[in-house]
């Protein structure tokens, strides 16, 4: 009988255990707010429940004795608690907010990032292409961001009281010596590189990383694309030229190669729309490029990009010096750019980035006051060879240490009417920088950069530091400080190399709120210039200056249906004493107030994207030699207004996805005056105005294979 009891007990054991106990309680966050949707359960059992809106949960379980109760919820750290079940139990759980990668603070002072990767970046690469009036030019699109000047009469990006020379361009970490097409007087060349080459663009208006040097004001950091999704062929035609290309993804999907060619000739367009000054040679551009990308392992990648381009053009304009005569200016440019990079993870949190680049640029100039003087011939050649190596070591969960070095060998040759001025420069730089997360909300970046150039026979050390603190999920404040050094421009170094580095010190404070559909940024800065180039009897680096200001950026993609718009405002107070300036004044490239409004509207019914860009800036100072020296740069030009329009229609022709683009810069043909140029005898002056104040672009782009159209159409 005793045995039988035992047998029965054994057989019934699992059934006996069915005696259920109720577990209940409440789940809150650390601020005692109830949490809904939490999955509460007894570990390794089915028993559990989901918490209700008031945070309460309740379930029954067969489990007894020592058990673990777990609670999980998206965005919170999972909790596990040991409990001992003997009867009904009430268990309240407090869950902690989980700081994941996306919410970790990042350095934001002074920098605008346009990238596919980040979910909360301010501008995406396609924003650049679809900004009306920008003509798919990276730099023109960036001119709708705060901190930039509407200096469309000069080459480059003028940032926060700095000149175009003070902005340096980098592709995959390698400096680009000639990022712009060579231009004619008052008609600057646009950027050489198509926005489609890059997956990420970072525009830093100051305080940037110690990885980059030789830019006093700003860095434009471009990151090239990786492997394409599949092979494709492209064809383009427009009022100014034709282009074609192919991109082939290799069979194993680990590599790709591509070639592109384009031909541009403004002749036919100029036959219809007369420019202010005639062209002696209609602008003509022949370009080719080739690329190769190959994954060398699951983490390694080798990339090559090579580019060759030649430009030929010339203008004739009335002579300012000799009334009744014409000035001829002709230019032949040849440009080669190559960039080879390799990246790989070395294990143990080490990463390697290596690069090699060679570029060569030659400008052949022909200047002639027709029927008066003999033509003057000039030739400038610059070559830059560089190598760069960067090692990155991950420290703990988020922090990293980065260090590396670069070497550049530059040859600058100049021949002007028989006068030769050549030089060679060996530039070496090393940097160390660390991003340290004190907490996931508080990030410090400290680093330094040391440089030496043989032409100046001088070295410098530039400390850099930034701090960022996240206030709430979406908003953060950042501070940045740094010293920035740059060699004087080639035109001065050619003639005198006993100069020093020019220097700027940046102080930046910024606040930013970045949600998925809107962005607000407010940034204040102070920049102190030292050792700027002074010309006169002798050239020296003794100039001074400062720039300070406040900038606001607002972008909103949500409020209005199918509409995306952004507004930038920049206030700039800057003065400098450089070149031939008698004392510190507001320079002729700086406007006090600048506003840009970009508006994009998408009409789904006709798959058309409309865009309007309005830019405004107050007048820029100009030098009137008829006034006493005390009034140097005291007069200002008229305010600058520009309205750009664009419409793109997306459709398919046979099997090719096709985009038709109509874009008009300065559509209402508003008069724009950038300054005045005076004759030597001070009696006559010429307005500096755009040669083609309104430009109408009509083009089509066909793509067989990859649907790039989808990107554009969805860009609302």
């Amino acid at each position: 009988m005793k045995h039988l009891n035992l047998i029965l007990l054994t057989m019934l054991l699992p059934v006996c255990m069915m005696g259920q106990q109720r577990i209940s309680g409440k789940i809150t966050d650390s601020k005692k707010r109830p949490l809904q949707g939490v999955n509460v359960s007894i570990k390794d059992s089915y028993d559990g429940a989901t918490s209700a809106a008031d945070g309460s949960y309740s379930f029954t379980t067969d489990a007894k004795g020592t058990q673990y109760i777990t609670a999980t919820l998206l965005g919170f750290t999972s909790q596990e608690q040991k409990i001992f079940i003997t009867g009904p139990q009430e268990i309240n759980i407090v869950m902690r907010n989980n700081v994941n990668d996306l919410k970790v603070v990042t350095i934001s002072a002074g920098s605008f990032e346009a990238s596919d990767e980040g979910k909360t970046t301010v501008l995406k690469p396609l924003d650049i292409v679809t900004t009306a009036g920008a003509g798919a030019d990276i730099v023109n699109a960036l001119k709708t961001l705060p901190g930039t000047q509407q200096t469309n009469d000069r080459e480059g990006l003028f940032v926060r009281g700095g000149t175009g020379y003070e902005t340096q361009t980098f592709i995959d970490g390698m400096m680009v010596r000639n990022p712009f097409f060579s231009g004619l007087p008052d008609q600057p060349g646009r950027g050489r590189f198509s926005p489609f080459l890059f997956k990420g663009t970072t525009f830093s208006s100051g305080g940037y990383s110690a990885q980059y040097g030789q830019g006093l004001s700003s860095a434009l950091i471009l990151e090239s694309t990786d492997l394409p999704q599949r092979s494709s062929y492209t064809l383009g035609a427009s009022v100014i030229g034709v282009s074609g290309g192919l991109e082939e993804l290799m069979k194993d999907k680990k590599g790709s190669y591509g070639v592109e060619a384009d031909y541009t000739n403004l002749g036919p367009y100029l036959g219809v729309v007369k420019p202010k000054y005639a062209f002696s040679k209609d602008p003509e551009i022949i370009g080719t490029s080739a690329n190769f990308r190959r994954k060398t392992s699951s983490t390694g990648m080798i990339k090559f990009y090579g580019y060759y381009n030649q430009t030929n053009m010339g203008t004739i304009r009335p002579s300012l010096e000799y009334p009744g005569f014409d000035e001829l200016f002709e230019l032949k440019n040849k440009n080669v750019y190559t960039n080879l990079t390799y990246k790989e993870s070395l294990g143990h949190d080490w990463k390697l980035n290596a690069g090699f680049s060679f570029s060569s640029n030659s400008d052949d100039l022909n200047l002639d006051t027709l029927k008066k003087s003999n033509p003057l011939h000039g030739k400038n050649v610059s070559q830059l060879t560089q190598t760069r190596l960067v090692l990155t070591k991950g420290l703990g969960q988020y922090s990293v240490l980065r260090f590396g070095g670069e070497y550049q060998y530059g040859v600058e040759k100049s021949n002007f009417g028989g006068w030769q001025a050549n030089y060679v420069d060996n530039y070496t730089a090393g940097f160390v920088e660390s991003d340290i997360y004190f907490t996931p909300r508080l990030l410090g970046r400290v680093g330094g950069r040391a440089e030496y150039t043989s032409i100046l026979a001088k070295a410098n050390f530039a400390p850099r530091a930034s701090l960022a603190y996240r206030l709430t999920g979406n908003s953060q404040v950042s501070l940045a400080y740094g010293d920035f050094y740059q060699k004087p421009e080639q035109q001065y170094l050619r003639f005198k190399n006993d100069l020093g580095f020019t220097k700027a010190t940046h102080y930046i404070a910024s606040y930013q709120l970045v949600a998925k559909n809107y962005t607000l940024r407010v940034e204040a800065f102070y920049k102190k210039y030292h050792d700027l180039v002074k010309t006169g009897i002798d050239t020296s680096t003794t100039g001074t200056g400062y720039a300070k200001g406040i900038e606001v950026f607002w972008r909103d993609k949500k409020t209005f249906k199918n509409t995306d718009y952004w507004i930038s405002y920049s206030y700039l107070d800057t003065k400098r004493n450089y070149l031939n300036y008698p004392f510190e004044v507001q320079p002729d490239f700086a406007a006090k107030h600048t506003v840009s409004v970009v508006y994009k509207y998408y009409i789904p019914a006709i798959t058309t994207n409309l865009g309007v860009t309005y830019s405004f800036s107050t007048g820029r100072p100009y030098y009137n030699p008829n006034l006493p020296e005390s009034k140097f740069m005291s007069e200002k030009t008229m305010t600058y207004n520009s309205v750009g329009l664009s419409a793109s229609y997306l459709t398919s022709i046979r099997k090719a996805f096709t985009i038709f683009v109509l874009s008009v810069s300065n559509a209402p043909n508003i008069k724009q005056v950038y300054g005045y140029r005076y004759s030597t005898d001070k009696l006559r002056r010429q307005e500096i105005v755009p040669n083609m104040p309104r430009f109408i672009y009509i083009g089509m782009f066909m793509n067989f294979g990859i649907d790039r159209r989808q990107d554009v159409i969805n860009n609302m």
């Binding site: 054994t10 359960s41 559990g48 989901t50 998206l74 979910k119 559909n517 996805f657 990107d711």
Partner: protein, 215 residues
Amino acid sequence: MKRILFSICLLVGLASASMAQSAQYEGAMTKQVAMLDDSTNFTPDRLLEIANTFERIGAAEKSQWLPFYYAGYCYVMSTFMQKDNDKVDDLADKAAVNIEQAEAISPKNDEINCIKSLIATSRIRVDPMNRGMKYGMESANLLVQANQINQENPRVYMLQGQSLFYTPEQFGGSKTEAKKKFEVALQKFSSFKPASSIAPHWGEAYTKGLIAQIK
């Protein structure tokens, strides 16, 4: 004798315990899967609750792919019901975590590919401009792979049809092409025999609903 008896009892006891376990799995899964056949449960809150239950079952069972599969299915379906774009990525991440667990248990599974394709599709809407190409292509590729694994899976045709149905014609979408896919899907549905009562079998009613809109 005592000892033998005791051993037998113990064995019987253990066997009944494990049978109970398996019965418990079948029972719990049948109950939960039935909930997914009921359209009234298709609200974000309800789906989250059901997903939670599947996650619990999955965590307890460890070697069954279906609980993780259904948890992923619930999460990805809830993304399509979300009004708030900002929540889509988190839910899609959660769906992805579950479906990856399912895939670790059952690799090269056409049903799992279908959910992965849906996850990719769900992410597009957060930022169509930048994500359209990447995730659209990923979604389509996953369906091609699923089709290679099992040409008889009706959900693959249904999802391909759905993609054609919702893509505007200017972008390669086509209601007539969609209808063709739906018709193949319905044909496959009629001959489709789920491996068990808890194996994936959703989509037929939905396909009929979409095809009705074309007619």
